[in-house]
Subunit: 186 residues, 2 copies
DNA sequence: GTCTATACGATGATAGAC
DNA sequence: GTCTATCATCGTATAGAC
């Protein structure tokens, strides 16, 4: 065979990673198959050797993005308060706000996940439940964990809607305060 | 003239209202001009008698949706704590979560606003600053106002990503607790 | 103002050469 | 596996009849 068997795996992985970036930047629905393939140096026709449809790619992109999310490592390995604090401080930064393509998939892809078929939402739910369980352990409060997740995702969604960096910083700082308060309480 | 002058105004208003609903339901970019016009009983060709382009419609839809948002009345007229509490309880309800087309535009349209041109983000910012100012008055804390806005928007974005109503209710309840706590403190 | 018809590009997806 | 060529459909936007 002209192409080794793991070449297909590598191409698939490159496509998943690159598509995650493009989807978080400009939206998944708004990005065509040809554009996704061109980003990894291929043409649109080759796409269907890797995924049966564009929707299937979305499902896999979501799965991969969630596993590689800045939150993910805190979900798998139990996190002490200090580690969680540092992670959320970085999450609620202007650097993250201005870099959706390299950041958490929840703010930029959340709405598209919400409109996707049930299996996609189920895997999002499964991952979010794991995250919430991990944070509950750290915080000692299951409800505060959910509230903190919503707080962080909301801050980025709201912040990215804004035009001026000043106000964006205000929004982020306000949520940082909430995080600090939640992590200092018993 | 076969059509009265205010007939055009009425058509425009119907188009704005209907497009807001469709955009919040399925996304603005994903909804074609023909579909938007068909929803008010017209064909696609008539669209350009009312707006020079689809992007211009989006800008007007965002403006109108913000002014008619469940938050809007609380922004214009100063709100006492009790009024704000009742509004946020309704905001953080399963009824609202399952009815994006009739609810707040921030969760379903926020990401598209973030990717829109600067003027769109500027008017979103202007409106959000007014809302934050009003809530600051009620809460007596400018930062808590921003945090509360992010909390509410985030809860709906996260909740709508989920598959099961149980977990959705948990996410909403967690943010309700935060709202109650913020409104009870001095 | 609204219609139909149309231009023209982009879309998701397929077929067959290599 | 990837390419080019192609299909059918849809997208935004325009032109002209009524």
């Amino acid at each position: 065979m002209r192409y080794s068997t793991d070449h297909k795996q590598q191409t698939r992985e490159k496509l998943l990673a690159s598509s995650g970036v493009l989807a978080k930047r400009g939206g998944f629905a708004s990005t065509g198959v040809a554009e996704l393939m061109k980003a990894i140096g291929l043409t649109g026709g080759a796409f269907y050797n890797h995924f049966p449809s564009k929707d299937d790619l979305f499902s896999e992109v979501v799965r991969r993005e969630l596993c590689n999310s800045p939150f993910a490592r805190l979900a798998s390995q139990g996190a002490d308060r200090e580690r969680l604090r540092r992670c959320l401080k970085q999450y609620l930064s202007l650097a993250h706000l201005h870099n959706p393509e390299g950041g958490c998939p929840l703010p930029p892809l959340g709405v598209e996940i919400a409109r996707a078929e049930r299996p996609v939402r189920e895997q999002a739910e499964h991952w979010l439940l794991e995250l919430q369980a991990a944070w509950s352990e750290t915080l000692g409060d299951e409800r505060r964990a959910w509230a903190l997740i919503s707080q962080c995702v909301g801050a980025l969604v709201v912040g990215r809607m804004l035009a001026s960096e000043e106000v964006q910083q205000q929004v982020l700082d306000a949520s940082r305060d909430v995080v600090e308060q939640a992590l200092e309480e018993d």
